[in-house]
Point group: C2
């Protein structure tokens, strides 16, 4: 069987969420598995690339606020972010840490948790920044709330996320979504048609 | 007849070139004209948005060098930029000034010149930075070389380009390509399928 596709995303990225709702079906049509890999744009974009936050970039920030709901509708998705002043920029740390923690125990369950958290954030209007929110979502999947909360405070778990982000940067991953197919990079949810063509054999 | 589509681009932008080879056919299918409007990313991206040049942005610069030829192939276009050390970043000033100068006389001819210059730069390996190169391309369209060279040294012509870029920024245009359909903004050549759907009535 061909190697799994690497699907990089940040939980704060609505474009990553749009891709998350489509990448599994695209991969399955071509006999591929998908490995989900949360990253932190706060590291890749702000630190490594030396850029400012997208929403604080003149002209582009305003465009993105218009484009995200429009793009979600284009793909047939219901976009429903948390209402302001609940953060325009929620924190992805708890969600990403919980993902990698659970991944070491049960990758399939970790992916279910990631999709659930992503949907909560961008389709169900729930800010997932708080550890308690992440733990409640995990509890719905059968993981004791106290166990998740303990893991989220564990230094080794925090270190695991740092390492994952460093590994992503080492593979030249920078945006969300960012998809690697046998090393071939695709950045952006508007590249999903190109991803599909690549899986069909390229061009 | 519906209003013309506004097609903004920078001659230094290969993604804008890719769009230039497709936008007229897309518009024609929906009974629309296209108004071409060269801009300067050196103003919009560097000055207004406060970002650094794309190719100097870590990770992103390297990705773009890989993505541009791949995207051109995806759209069935032959990408053939000038060889290095002929500039990775040619100057779009002469081409953009010549466009607006000629536009006031003959918009259709100005568009033909723009497409010719864009093809020279990205499909035929010719750096179009020099005024002489632009004047030679204009001569092929029947405009006396000396007349173009005189125009390119004219302060009023330079001012016309500055005003065009300011007007673009006032309409919140920032990238290349950037397409406005009845005020609806679309950024990026990977958004052409979305542009087409919008012209069909949106979603």
């Amino acid at each position: 069987m061909a190697a799994a596709i690497d699907f990089y995303f940040d939980f704060i990225s609505p474009y990553g969420w749009i891709a998350s709702r489509r990448i599994e079906a695209i991969a399955a049509r071509h006999g591929r598995e998908v490995t989900w890999r949360p990253i932190l744009l706060g590291v890749t974009v702000l630190q490594v690339m030396g850029l400012k936050p997208l929403l604080e970039t003149p002209l582009k920030g305003e465009y993105l606020l218009h484009d995200v709901p429009r793009t979600a509708r284009f793909f047939g998705l219901t976009y429903n972010p948390p209402p302001p002043p609940a953060p325009a920029q929620p924190s992805p740390l708890a969600a990403a840490r919980a993902y990698y923690w659970l991944f070491e125990r049960d990758p399939a369950l970790a992916k279910r948790l990631a999709q659930r958290l992503y949907d909560l954030q961008w389709a169900e209007g729930v800010d997932i920044s708080a550890a308690e929110t992440v733990a409640a979502a995990a509890e719905d999947l059968g993981i004791a709330r106290a166990e998740t909360l303990a893991a989220l405070g564990n230094e080794a778990v925090k270190q695991r996320l740092r390492q994952a982000v460093e590994a992503a940067v080492a593979r030249k991953v920078f945006g969300s979504p960012f998809i690697l197919i046998d090393g071939e990079p695709f950045w952006g949810c508007d590249r999903l048609p190109m991803v599909e063509r690549w899986l069909e054999g390229g061009w």
